[in-house]
């Protein structure tokens, strides 16, 4: 079944090349490729046995001199992120249909190229390959944000780029260190899991990886690039960054950080949880003050990710499973939110909450779908956001009551600033600006209906998702605990 993964990885890349040269029909080619990838991914889900094993494995020697193999595969944890990527890419492509981007073919080609990079990150079983994917996903999104972004895009994006690359270069340093420690001299994930490093080494490796992941997510205080970049990026760029790219950091923590340096995690995990919780409160407080809706959602994203990261570092099944579900849910919801804001700003040329108002009256359909997505984001029971945040809070609760209490604020805070945003934009009196607002139509409608359907279906029946990752998560935690016992 390894061929399936090869198709999954390289279909977007091949399509990207075709898209780049297909001129005006680029967006259709891109959409077809996105849907085809989704179909392959769904086929993989159907054929996936939900145990702790890694399936669809491919393993070819690549750079033999340095023990680098093209080794990839999908286990329960990867499956969630692979599904997320392949689900969101066609949605993001569809959401970009109405825009009249200049040089459209390049735009869609870059989205597809990024998909390959993302999938490499999520399936790599070789640390070097993981690093390659990590950078390969960054370059396209940098160009998307810097070419089609707002007026401050150049300055903002070089900051974003250097921030991220700084993190990843130190991760590379850590990877090389692990390679040198590995008696087999390769980057194989299992070999790295089996390394026995003392706690001091683990501490250093922890930081070299953690900073890279923390910048990507982002966790306080590594988040300063994020609001500017999200605000200046074109809608598709924001969706790619917040919906999928951010999950690279979360996935990296689960896949590489926890099992390779468990003692480092044990020692520094508390710091990570504290930083995450500070991030939750800090980002929520700033979100209250935001006048620009896009910036508000950007800060809310920091708060949500803080909870996910706290749940992971709590090191228990609930927290981890919550993180898995929440990765998927947050991706769907945040893409939905940014799309709604994009619809508003492309019609009214503003995202400032005070200038808007009363859109619900003129656009009832948008009001409903916006509300559904919003409720998903604030974790109302019955929506997809609920189950993830519930599990995450349970996980954090097991770690410590006070941590859970403070982290639980995220739900209350979130409800307040999100609903206030909704009130400001959709409710109230229709003003001169919003009176001419036309309701959603065509591809906008399709996209938002799909997102709403996902919000509700995953909220009512999350079991298949939980089932996919459960065995893998259990196995991972057992592995971590065993290693901790042997170190201590």
């Amino acid at each position: 079944m390894g061929q399936l993964l090869i198709i999954l990885l390289f279909l977007p890349l091949v399509s990207a090349v075709i898209t780049a040269f297909s001129g005006r029909s680029a967006k259709y080619v891109a959409l077809i490729s996105g849907i085809a990838s989704l179909a392959v991914a769904l086929f993989a889900v159907v054929n996936f046995t939900a145990d702790s094993s890694t399936q669809f494995v491919i393993n070819y020697p690549w750079i033999a001199t340095f023990g680098i193999n093209f080794h990839a595969g999908i286990d329960g944890i990867s499956m969630i992120t692979v599904l997320l990527t392949n689900l969101l890419i066609p949605i993001i492509i569809l959401a970009s249909f109405k825009h009249q981007y200049k040089q459209e073919s390049a735009f869609f080609a870059l989205i597809l190229a990024m998909q390959t990079g993302l999938l490499l990150v999520f399936t790599a079983m070789d640390a070097f390959l993981f690093y390659i994917g990590w950078e390969a996903a960054l370059i396209p999104v940098y160009f998307i944000c810097a070419i089609w972004g707002g007026k401050d895009r150049i300055k903002v994006n070089i900051k974003f780029f250097v921030y991220t690359v700084a993190g990843s270069l130190f991760m590379l340093l850590g990877i090389i260190y692990l390679y040198l420690q590995n008696p087999a001299h390769n980057f194989d994930i299992q070999a790295l899991y089996n390394l026995s490093l003392d706690s001091q080494q683990q501490g250093w490796i922890f930081w070299s990886f953690f900073i890279a992941f923390a910048i990507k997510m982002p966790i306080f205080p590594f988040h300063t690039w994020q609001p500017d970049t999200y605000t200046e990026a074109p809608a598709a760029g924001t969706m790619l960054l917040s919906g999928i790219m951010l999950k690279m950091g979360i996935y990296g923590v689960i896949r590489w950080l926890l099992p390779i340096v468990p003692a480092g995690v044990q020692h520094w995990g508390e710091t990570a949880i504290i930083l995450s919780i500070i991030g939750i409160v800090y980002a929520s407080l700033i979100a209250f003050k935001q006048r620009n809706a896009k910036r508000l959602v950007a800060y809310s994203s920091i708060a949500h990710v803080g909870l996910i990261s706290a749940g992971i570092f709590a090191l228990n099944t609930q927290g981890m499973q919550g993180a898995m579900v929440q990765m998927l849910s947050h991706g769907i919801n945040v893409v939905g939110l940014f799309f709604v804001l994009d619809i508003i700003s492309s019609r009214l040329k503003t995202n400032t909450i005070e200038e808007l108002g009363g859109i619900a009256k003129v656009a009832p359909q948008l009001a409903i779908v916006f509300l559904i997505i919003l409720l998903g984001t604030v974790a109302l029971p019955g929506t997809n956001g609920f189950i993830g945040e519930f599990l995450l809070l349970m996980g954090v609760y097991q770690y410590g009551i006070w941590a859970a209490v403070i982290a639980g604020l995220t739900i209350i805070f979130g409800a307040v600033y999100m609903l206030r945003m909704y009130q400001g934009i959709m409710l109230g009196k229709t003003n001169d600006l919003t009176i001419g607002f036309t309701d959603i139509q065509g591809t906008e409608k399709i996209t938002l209906y799909i997102i709403c359907a996902l919000v509700i279906i995953l909220g009512v029946y999350p079991k298949p998702i939980l089932h996919i990752s459960e065995a893998a998560v259990q196995h991972l935690l057992e592995q971590v605990n065993q290693k901790l016992i042997s170190v201590n």
């Binding site: 001199t65 390969a136 370059i139 810097a146 150049i154 070089i158 780029f161 340093l173 040198l180």
Partner: protein, 457 residues
């Protein structure tokens, strides 16, 4: 030996062809000669021919010869319409470049200190003239004079160093010197140490490592762009090969002695090269400073001597050479069009010529060390090499410098794609297209399948 003979004969034939005004025949003749010598590189592989104990064509020498010959072929392809603007005497310039190449072949294959000196001199004298070929241009003259003065000065250091080493060991022969060092490890003559340091200084002058780099920016900026391209790619590679041949081979037993000064040189080179490049407004000058910083990364191969040191330098030099050739080719085209060579003249290139912009983007990504380009593999092998001895602070320092590099390399990308320029379209001459396509393919291919070059030597 046959490689040098081929190149020298080609140079003379080209000179005669120029005498008979056969301008059209110059480039084909040159290319024919260079390709023949490239074939000789292939046939001599694994032969390890030693000529009169003066030169040894081992695989190390052959691999670097191959690289510099290919680099020179690319430079020659870029001469399309280039020299004709400056002068009537194109044949002389062709000949000078070929003589310089012959000198460089000696520099990568010498087995005797005297040959090292002769090789450097053959190369340098040709370059002094080439830097000044724009006779009526003030900057070109300044470059030529500066290069000559600094070059002569550094050769003095080198020569004095060689003399002292001769005084200590009684031989110019590399094998003898090495045997002397191994045999008298505890009682090496005190003459030897200053000799070694002087040779090191002389070589650092030649490769433009800090703090002996001051001539580089001025000379690179003042010299005609094509000659700058030649100096900063092919010549630099040859300089490194010569440096490495001496220090990683012959002087290896004294590694503990020359490592501390080398570390200082590496750190200074990285810092000065990167930080100064950051403040440049002129693309060509930025490339000059970035070439200094790349010299720093290249010197990483000497910090930890291993069986991989040579191939690390080869990989890095290849990555750097082809990316730089792209950068200079783009610079020449853009300058011909706009008359300027600052960053602004690249504005809007993404629209004016998407192909050139794309190739230049890949080159910049390679120079800054982004994965899937040759430049990343180059940086990776260097970092791995130094990490092998757990010089983590040094690698961390290099990483910080690499980050600075992103700022100035991405400035070019930003200008091309994110800024609006004039609407003039820009067409590429055919030969430029060939060079760009080949350099692009090599850059990406070495980035994706580096195995072909990693185990060459």
């Amino acid at each position: 030996m046959n490689i040098i003979i081929t190149i020298t004969v080609t140079a003379l034939v080209v000179l005669y062809a120029g005498l008979f005004k056969a301008k059209k025949a110059l480039l084909p003749l040159t290319l024919l000669g260079l390709i023949t010598s490239l074939v000789f590189v292939g046939t001599s592989w694994d032969q390890n021919t030693v000529s009169y104990n003066m030169m040894q064509m081992d695989n190390y020498a052959l691999a670097f010869s191959g690289l510099i010959i290919i680099g020179t072929i690319f430079i020659f392809l870029l001469t399309q319409n280039y020299f004709a603007e400056h002068s009537e005497n194109i044949a002389e310039y062709f000949t000078l470049i070929l003589f310089a190449l012959a000198g460089m072949i000696i520099m990568v294959s010498y087995q005797n200190m005297a040959m090292l000196f002769i090789g450097i001199e053959i190369m340098s004298v040709s370059l002094y003239i080439l830097a000044g070929i724009r006779k009526s241009n003030f900057a070109s003259n300044e470059a030529s004079l500066k290069y000559f003065l600094m070059g002569a000065f550094s050769t003095g250091f080198l020569l004095f160093g060689i003399t002292l080493v001769y005084g200590a060991t009684g031989s110019f022969d590399l094998t003898h010197i090495n045997e002397y060092l191994v045999g008298n490890y505890k009682i090496v003559s005190p003459l030897f140490y200053p000799g070694l340091i002087l040779i090191m200084i002389g070589m650092c002058f030649k490769i433009g490592a800090a703090p002996f780099h001051f001539w580089t920016p001025d000379v690179y900026e003042g010299a005609p762009s094509l000659i700058t391209a030649f100096m900063s790619t092919v010549v630099k590679t040859a300089g490194f090969a010569a440096f490495l041949r001496l220090f990683a081979g012959t002087f290896a037993p004294l590694h503990d002695f020359w490592l501390p000064p080398l570390m200082v040189i590496v750190c200074l080179t990285l810092l000065i090269g990167n930080v100064t490049a950051l403040f440049q407004k002129n693309f060509k000058r930025m490339l000059a400073y970035s070439s200094i910083s790349h010299a720093g990364y290249l010197l990483f191969s000497l910090i930890t001597l291993s069986s991989r040191s040579a191939s690390n330098v080869l990989v890095y030099a290849a990555a750097y050479t082809f990316a730089s050739i792209i950068a200079f080719a783009a610079l020449i085209v853009v300058k011909q069009k706009t008359g300027k060579d600052d960053f602004e003249s690249f504005n809007g290139l993404g629209k004016k010529n998407p192909f050139l912009a794309f190739v230049l983007t890949v080159a910049m990504l390679s120079l800054s060390g982004i994965p899937l380009t040759a430049g990343f593999i180059g940086k990776y092998v260097m970092f791995l090499n130094v990490m092998g001895q757990y010089q983590i602070y040094l690698v961390a320092f290099a990483i910080l410098n690499a980050l600075v590099g992103f700022f100035y390399y991405f400035r070019v990308i930003a200008a091309m794609y994110f800024k609006e320029g004039s609407e003039l379209s820009l067409t590429l001459p055919l030969q430029y297209k060939i060079v760009l396509v080949f350099s692009l393919v090599i850059t990406v291919f070495l980035g994706v399948f580096p195995s072909v070059i990693l185990n060459l030597i």
